[in-house]
Amino acid sequence: MELEVKIRKKLGGFRMDMEFQAKAGRTGILGASGCGKSMTLKAIAGIVTPDEGRIVLNGRVLFDAERKINIPPQERNAGYLFQNYALFPNMSVEQNIAAGLRGRDAGGRAAREKRVAEMIRMFGLTGLEKLLPRSLSGGQQQRVALARILAYKPEVILLDEPFSALDAYLKDRLQEELLEYLAEYDGLILMVSHSRDEIYRFADELIIMGRGQVEVQGGVREVFRDPHTKAAAILTGCKNFSAAERLSDHALLARDWGIELHTEKVLPQHFNCIGYRAHFLEPVYGARKENCIAFRLHGQRDLPFEKNFYIRPEKDGYAREHVITWFVQRGGWAALEERGKPDYLQLKEDGILFLQDGTGENE
């Protein structure tokens, strides 16, 4: 079970140059809007044709520009879940599910009907067989779309931002449902999303995509712990960055914040930037400890379960316009209210991300 993708395609303002491999299981592709991630899925499904490259699924060449191979989407045996589900509005639930079985060698009409009935039962659609998609709820529509795909047992399932048009409540419910229904599928699943939470929840393996390229690939947890590049760290939701300079094995200068940071562990050799997550800043009262930033409050925004503080590091003589974000979750509110504004914010060594910032450099 393996998918190999190496494709190039000119898109509007940039070149897509994707190269990655994915194994059986759930792989997430995280990228900003318009970075070419949907295009990647469409290329795998055969809906769009790359300019160059190769796509191989389980040893079968789906696309090879040099050898002029381009298997039509009908024969690729991929399941594509569209953002709007793309259910056929003129067909009933039953007919929609059967649509994927008709073109295939599904063993005749009787076998087809049996498979449809089986999918309807499995996906909790009993009683809705004769309804048209427009009279279904969002959740039911998703189930029909999934049933339609899983009915023909595709080798790869491609999920194209399946939740981005939903409200928060429904999103949560449908994510859970999707995971539940896909749990027994043993093929390859590729999900594309711009939402860090969605991807973290869904995927085992993560590919972070910059503009048309793979930035980092690895296990989801590892990549979130160590995103390698600033672009990737931004996509994992890291809010605070500073240009940095390695001073010694245990010290670095965070230039934008005007402080020196000291570590117990030996610093990595190559990095020119550090990142620090907004949730990991610790308030400190009284005497200054190691790795503390003196600051001035710049602004405060309250969310239902979180307070967001925007602060400016107080450096000698001048305060840079480099705003640091500090998120305090509910548990920390009481201390904050009781003791007021902390004197310093402390950076914990474990929370520091050592990054490469590619912008402005010749690679």
């Binding site: 499904a45 989407p73 509005p89 994927g100």
Partner: protein, 234 residues
């Protein structure tokens, strides 16, 4: 009043039947040809598309008499195609009812084709992509997904086509002529009786045409209303 009844009783109704028959046959022909042409063009490359689109739309833009002139050149029994049709199959296009049908079809076809194409292009592209990844052959995607979801647009194209075919005058008079009881359509009869200063008879025909126009629009709206119910609209 008695005079009007007298005229109605004495009226030659043949133009009505000729027009209706011509309109129906031309609409059926345009319907299928227009849909096929629109389908073919949907899958054509951009260059080919614009050239073919120009050719297919031309009869709508040209003055009907010019289109009639070309048709006459093509089907005249002094020219190769006309000679071939007559000698081999005994088919006579010029000055015959077949001429009426061909003229009306050629003039009305672009309306069907353009409306069908516009309706197909309105269909959500992800439905077509979904069909393809599901393994449906392109032909099946077209007939089972694109066409049903383009229903309302196709229906309104059909109304316009029928209306246009029913009232065709210029090309018909060039190709089929105005032979009473054979190729004399309502439009041609109206023009003829007005030339004879017979305004009352012309008025009666105009009334009949108005009636047919309204009836066909109501009928088609009713049919497309049924089609619309399958699709969500604003």
């Amino acid at each position: 009043m008695n005079g009007l009844l007298e005229i109605l009783r004495g009226l030659d109704w043949s133009p009505l039947w000729i027009s209706l028959k011509t309109g129906v046959v031309a609409t059926i022909l345009s319907f299928f040809l227009g849909i096929l042409a629109a389908r073919r063009l949907m899958y054509a490359g951009p260059g080919k598309k614009s050239v073919l689109d120009g050719i297919l739309t031309l009869p709508m833009v040209l003055p009907p008499t010019v289109a009639g002139f070309f048709l006459l050149l093509l089907f005249s029994r002094r020219r190769p195609l006309g000679i071939l049709l007559y000698r081999q199959f005994g088919i006579k296009v010029v000055q015959s009812w077949l001429g009426c049908i061909i003229a009306a079809t050629v003039i009305a076809f672009p309306l069907m084709y353009r409306n069908a194409r516009a309706a197909f292009e309105q269909v959500d592209i992800s439905l077509i992509h979904a069909g393809r990844t599901l393994g449906m052959p392109d032909r099946e995607i077209f007939w089972k997904v694109v066409l049903p979801n383009a229903g309302p647009g196709v229906a309104s194209g059909t109304i316009l086509t029928f209306a246009r075919a029913l009232g065709e005058y210029g090309a018909t008079s060039m190709l089929a002529g105005n032979i009473p009881g054979k190729t004399a359509t309502v439009s041609q009869r109206i023009a003829m009786v007005i030339q004879d200063q017979n305004y009352l008879t012309a008025g009666i025909w105009v009334g009949i045409v108005l009636l047919i126009a309204f009836l066909s629009i109501f009928l088609m709206n009713w049919v497309s209303g049924k089609a619309i119910r399958n699709v969500e609209r604003w």
